[in-house]
Symmetry: D2
């Protein structure tokens, strides 16, 4: 549904063409509250295909570009250039694409893992800061109202002192060697040159890790990890188990898998404190479960009048009307729009305690991936995220083991 509102934010997209579900998801999210206009883009490497997608999306021919470089240059030069660029390409190009926009002062939404090494991730964070641009990373699960509610419950002390954190993103989507069938997403996600060896950690593990950080407010001080290849012959690790020691000495666990046979999605978190615990899972996102010390269970539903302001602000319909993944993406884009508009209109920042994830979160995610890989390569030795100096050495070690284990 279009409106004539001249104040709508202007957006461009790189990637997200045919076969790229994530691009569609971003567009649904942007469209949800009608605060963005998709005005420019490069929708894939095939020029004709890209033009077709652009046309179907109503993007003008003159703003359908042959490359992201061209797009960044041209849009930066326009009076009415885009306010934000969405980077929805495979992992290996995130850095170059995001860099091109950020260094021209154009805000960026970049898919996770932000980049393939913490040094490049840090560069993006620095670039964004230097050029006063926003760098947002769509860990959109944190935009679900009931996740916001969970974070609020923790910060309000409803759980007491935190004692244990358990998170998993164990999906079954690639429990078979899907990459051998020509499946586009499976192909690049199991290609170590594109997705990295610890592929599943970057893809799903970072979602789980961000969710844990977002709800608890804790950071991992150190990790002890194991990487596995559950599908024989696969060229990347498709399963990871991690023991974590969070700040304040809180222990925890994380499990990431793309080969958890039968699981439909598999993102789920449980947080324990000395006065209660909570549980949230993505396959039933509009409920949040709380258990008290005695063992009584309370289920809160999205839309209840007693929920926090954070949760209420993100309620579109009301009690009993489920909202899902697209609404969560919409929430991410709504929070982002608040901030983009504030900057455009030179108003104070709208970023709240509970808001959209940024480049810092992306960087922390990449550091987590590196620490997991390094710990695994060192026989599950405890490893401090951010301390891994030379990632290539770790990658090489992981590579060596993988070739052995995976029989490649």
């Amino acid at each position: 549904m279009s409106t004539q509102n001249a104040r709508r934010l202007s957006a461009g997209m790189v990637g997200g063409g045919i076969g790229a579900d994530i691009g569609k998801t971003h567009r649904f999210g942007m469209r949800m509250d009608d605060r963005y206009s998709l005005d420019a883009g490069v929708f894939g490497r095939d020029v004709e295909e890209s033009a077709g997608v652009a046309s179907s999306l109503g993007v003008a021919t003159e703003r359908t570009y042959a490359s992201y470089q061209e797009m960044a240059a041209a849009e930066a030069a326009r009076q009415d250039g885009i306010d934000v660029a969405i980077v929805a390409t495979p992992n290996d190009s995130h850095f170059e694409v995001a860099k091109a926009f950020l260094e021209r002062g154009i805000s960026v939404v970049c898919e996770k893992p932000l980049t393939r090494s913490s040094s490049t991730a840090r560069q993006l964070v620095d670039l964004a800061e230097r050029h006063d641009a926003i760098l947002a990373v769509p860990h959109c699960y944190s935009a679900y109202p009931m996740v916001r509610e969970a974070a609020r419950m923790v910060s309000d002390g409803r759980l007491g002192r935190l004692t244990f954190v358990d998170v998993e993103h164990a999906s079954g989507w690639a429990a078979t060697p899907l990459e051998l069938t020509g499946h586009k997403q499976a192909s690049w996600r199991t290609d170590p040159d594109v997705a990295g060896f610890p592929s599943v950690v970057g893809d799903l593990g970072t979602h789980g890790y961000h969710l844990a950080r977002y709800i608890t407010g804790l950071e991992a001080d150190r990790v002890s990890a194991q990487l596995h290849t559950l599908v024989p012959g696969r060229k990347v690790f498709d399963n990871a188990t991690v023991a974590l020691e969070f700040s304040e000495g809180v222990p925890g666990r994380l499990w990431a898998s793309m080969a958890a046979t039968g699981h439909n999605h598999g993102l789920r978190i449980r947080v324990f404190g000395d006065e209660g615990s909570l549980e949230w899972q993505h396959e039933d996102p509009h409920h949040l479960t709380f258990q008290d010390l005695e063992g009584t269970t309370t289920i809160f539903t999205h839309g209840l009048s007693s929920l926090s302001e954070d949760s209420a602000r993100l309620t579109r319909v009301g009690l009993g009307h489920p909202e899902g993944f697209l609404e969560a993406f919409g929430n991410f884009y709504r929070d982002l729009a608040d901030e983009l508009e504030a900057r455009r209109d030179a108003r104070p920042s709208t970023i709240r305690e509970l808001s959209f994830p940024t480049g810092i979160d992306g960087l922390i995610g990449v550091q987590f991936v590196e620490a997991v890989a390094a710990s695994h390569a060192a026989g599950s030795a405890w490893t401090v995220p951010g301390s891994v100096a030379d990632r290539d050495a770790e990658i090489a070690a992981a590579d060596a083991e993988l070739r052995e284990v995976g029989g490649n």
Copy 2:
């Protein structure tokens, strides 16, 4: 998100202003797939308020009208007039508003219950047919992919011969005398002059009844009903229980309530056949449960690769990513867009076996309301929907009893 696509369908809205959640829901649904442009409207009776809403929605001032009559006349006269008018006003004005557009050949989406009597409902159906306009009724629960899947399972014979149907839409939203607090929706829904005496039957009962018809393909041959006022002093019936005899002699039950304390939403259906049964509930809409003769339970999730074409067509993201109420509204508007475009472009009708509900469904819904009221007034006597000649008499009878029971 806006595009320049000149071919987008043009829509107008009557009602759906401040405090009217249903108007927002329609707009979310229309926006979902970016196939409508909201170009005209009357957003409430207060002219200034309406102008404010119009402006925030990007509706041009010259197409923000003072009345639906003016709007119908002006839009019909424009070359680029609206393709469809959304009627989102309280029940008592549905007939006049819808009529104004239909008789000018403008298609209409009209909220349920379609009108307050079957004779006026039939007039709208006839008008739509005579003027070659579409009259669509947003029983949007039937647009959930897993409801489509349920209907497909029944028509494919997976349940065998149907034996029993149980449906309920028992919500707790008005379990207290909310109307005494100034709550806008509660006020008109408990005002017999606006919502009718059997208010809950028209509001929630028709949803349940449509869902049962949609999934089973059956119609009620006769009903035996009871109406109750669970909240003392309430001026309408807020609870109804109905025994049904569907076509082919299949027995069934329906329960509608706005006073089922604690229930968040409460729409749920179970269909039994001699080879299996299924269950779907709106509070977990992306799952469909099937039980076989032995008692084994199978749960199907939205996005599974084995689901029917109907379900797959309406899948936006994929397995494990919940879609909710707004997506269902989006599906309704998508199916409608297919048909509106086909008519605009003089292509063959796109209406499939499983498609959006029309005025006929709206008429059948009103007949159901009348039959329930009549049966109740006659001591639960079996009553044939469509046979109630003089509704006013029945209303009077119900009225009389209500005054007695409710102590008004």
Copy 3:
């Protein structure tokens, strides 16, 4: 496990031989707390078979009888005769068997429906009273701790004023014409001469009705009912839907079915009040769900320290350790043992507000069956339980219709 405790109660059984699951269930229940000794019995009509069962159960040969008449006479004559007789025969013999023991002052546990007519049921109640014997009816679902908890919550006012009651016992056990396969239980339960025409109402409906009465403390003032035969050719009604008006004007519904395809058991109750609602279902018996006015859901588990004394008293293991059907039977027999011992030892009665069901409950159950049949025969006319003067006339009417509907 046996003990030498001479004070154990002595029990005898009529029926419950080979192929009779209910007899085994009674024995498990009696054994649970080791307060009964099974000392006498007639385990079926086949003398040899009965002797085999008796021997396997350790019943002495001299107390294994050829008929219930013989057993009643002999046991009444013994110094160490049985304290209680368990009647676990098909419905048509309940009256004669129970009568034989009661009129000799021997307490009786008699399966439901107590008898086939309210006049005979009343005779048993009177006999028990006259001979100072206990007549207990094993509606054992009311012996689940979480059902006791539900009843306590209602009586403590946690739900406020009751507004609606919905109960169903809709099983799928006989969704196929099992009786044609020689299935023993299906054969007699679908034989109108043994189980009566409204078979499913007597078998499962009375359980649901008792559960509703037990939890709410309400009685049905009148009913409007429908009986169906979902399995073609079946000689009894296998499905029933009932609208109820409980005391204090509280409306309700009941659904009984033996042909709800796919259902494993299907006993479930929901009770609504103006301050909250509760739900319990037998397939998950150790949980009780409460929903408050706002819509927040609380789940209580058997064994929680905050539960009522009634519930705690019946907890054998503790929180998190599920107890099931046999434990419920054990609870029935435990409460009964308290009372039998009190009478034996001339102590005051132990019967509490929430205790085991007696002959009065059995009589009310039979009156309910009669009212349902009568209402159905009269086109769902509202009928007062206990008012059906001549049940034979109603049976005849039901019979006539059944023959028509069922095509027999």
Copy 4:
């Protein structure tokens, strides 16, 4: 319920007096199928208290002993001495008590953890073999019919090649410093001299580990573990996370906790294979969930006619009638009775592929506890169960760390 059956097995109990729930649970289990007679015992260290318990259980005065030594000697000397001794004392006495009976050829049921070190556990296993006695360990969760079904599904290849195992027994029973309140069980379970430092691993971890072994048929080749003290000041570890490498290179996880706030019981297992996965949890023990490669979920219920013989054999009532923890204990005792009777009557062994856990399972459990403690003490280094030569050294190391972490 007692019978005169002279062939009933004779049992004695050590421990299980007042306040000892586990003793009651054993007695319920033994009583369930009426195949044991409790004839002898020492029910606690207080002689009078023990006599009181004995009397209430119908144990003769002359077979109520002052000590287990006396009991073992006296019962071994009797013609009609006990067939089996139940050891239900705290952990630290298991070895001495079990040894006293086994070396006299009396079979033993000994609670887990079998002993406090693998060397003593191995001695018991050897003793049992040498004296031709049965040593059974009540990991009774493996006696649930749906756990048997799970094991059968794995061995039948329904999951394909196993890929991942996830098990947890995370309870919230001691999430507060219950030991400070005089709570009997909490006192000894948090006393390192009685329960050992890795208390929760021995208590709950061994249940989880046994369940994983029982269902998958795999053994852990090595573990990498973390021990935590979630309740400050507690003298033992109350939380443990373990990464496992099972035989055939299958990775897995285990989590044991007595401080998982809010959890009622918390035993749950998920097993993944390359063709499907299954899940079972103790709080809903009569269901077993299977998910196929596509993501469709199937729920099997205890009592379904299609279940395996193992499951059917242990079904007491039937579909839809929940059986719980006591029935599982009953199943353990039933399987054990089969074998005890076979030995008594000199018939062939009845031990099946899926049967009751024995001393070997107990020994493996103790080795697991030792390996977890050793890995933790060595900074989560991978450790091979059974390889830990000097447990005392590990205990000392764990002790040292605990004092540091726990602040003792």
